[in-house]
């Protein structure tokens, strides 16, 4: 059985995730949505820490919170016009959205429950050290990620090229 502290932490993190993500998609102000997203991302980073994946948590904070959300904020500022920052949601789309979301939740939730125990204990494990992570990243053997690493670099390069082409004025 886990410690009370971790249970409390779990509850807090889970609540934060749920609440902020709900807020992020329901708030009318787009800038607030970005802010709630930021909180959700922090909560996710907390989850990674809880799972002992410190590196992952760090990356999450650095890339998402540090990069993507800032990008969002800039783009919001770029594209928003005065007096146009709040939007109305039609009830029809709300119904559609809830149907899809609930169906998704129900079906995949049922599938999950049927297979995995919700209250499984966390197996004891050494957290992967930075060195291990780095070695796997550069390895070519089983469990090595050199090829994906190279491939994703090509992907990022392509996205940069694409982004530049699209975003530049001419």
């Amino acid at each position: 059985m886990e410690s009370v502290g971790s249970i409390i932490l779990y509850i807090v993190v889970a609540l934060a995730m749920v609440v902020f993500s709900v807020l992020a998609v329901t708030t009318r102000k787009i800038l607030r949505a970005a802010t709630y997203l930021l909180f959700t991302l922090f909560a996710a980073a907390c989850v990674y820490f809880m799972l002992d994946y410190e590196f992952l948590g760090a990356v999450q904070i650095a890339v998402y919170a540090g990069g993507i959300v800032v990008l969002f904020v800039f783009s919001i500022l770029l594209t928003s016009r005065p007096g146009h920052n709040s939007e109305r949601l039609s009830s029809k789309s709300r119904v559609l959205g809830s149907v899809a979301a609930l169906a998704m939740l129900l079906i995949s939730g049922y599938a999950l429950v049927s297979r995995c125990a919700l209250y499984a204990a966390k197996p004891a494990l050494d957290t992967p050290t930075m060195q291990q992570v780095g070695q796997s990243m550069m390895s070519t053997g089983h469990g090595g990620y050199l090829l994906p690493f190279e491939a994703v670099s090509v992907l990022l390069l392509a996205c940069i090229i694409g982004g530049v082409v699209i975003a530049r004025k001419r």
């Binding site: 970005a34 969002f72 789309s93 919700l118 982004g163 699209i166």
Partner: protein, 97 residues
């Protein structure tokens, strides 16, 4: 256990995608969905298959991909904004039927 909030997060993303009109907001919803998937991978790795780190690495790469996606999407949206002065997704209806 941590899957529940992740799934809820995913569904929130779905809900947001379908209901929001602002494209940036839709992108935000997409981020939620991608994050939920990331969490899933991490949780599965940690709880079910702790002896290897495949899920964690997947998450790692997925974050990178998500960043690229977002950047490109924002570039396209801004470009659209330039020509249409509008980023309401409902107004993207010139191409239909």
């Amino acid at each position: 256990m941590l899957l529940v909030p992740a799934m809820i997060m995913f569904c929130c993303g779905v809900y947001g995608f379908i209901t929001r009109r602002n494209m940036i907001a839709i992108l935000i919803s997409l981020e939620l969905m991608l994050n939920a998937v990331d969490i899933n991978f991490a949780v599965f790795n940690r709880y079910l298959w702790p002896e290897a780190t495949e899920g964690m690495f997947f998450t790692l790469f997925a974050i990178a991909i998500a960043a690229a996606e977002t950047a490109l999407a924002i570039a396209i949206i801004i470009n659209l904004y330039r020509s249409a002065k509008n980023i309401d997704v409902r107004d993207l209806n010139k191409l239909k039927y």
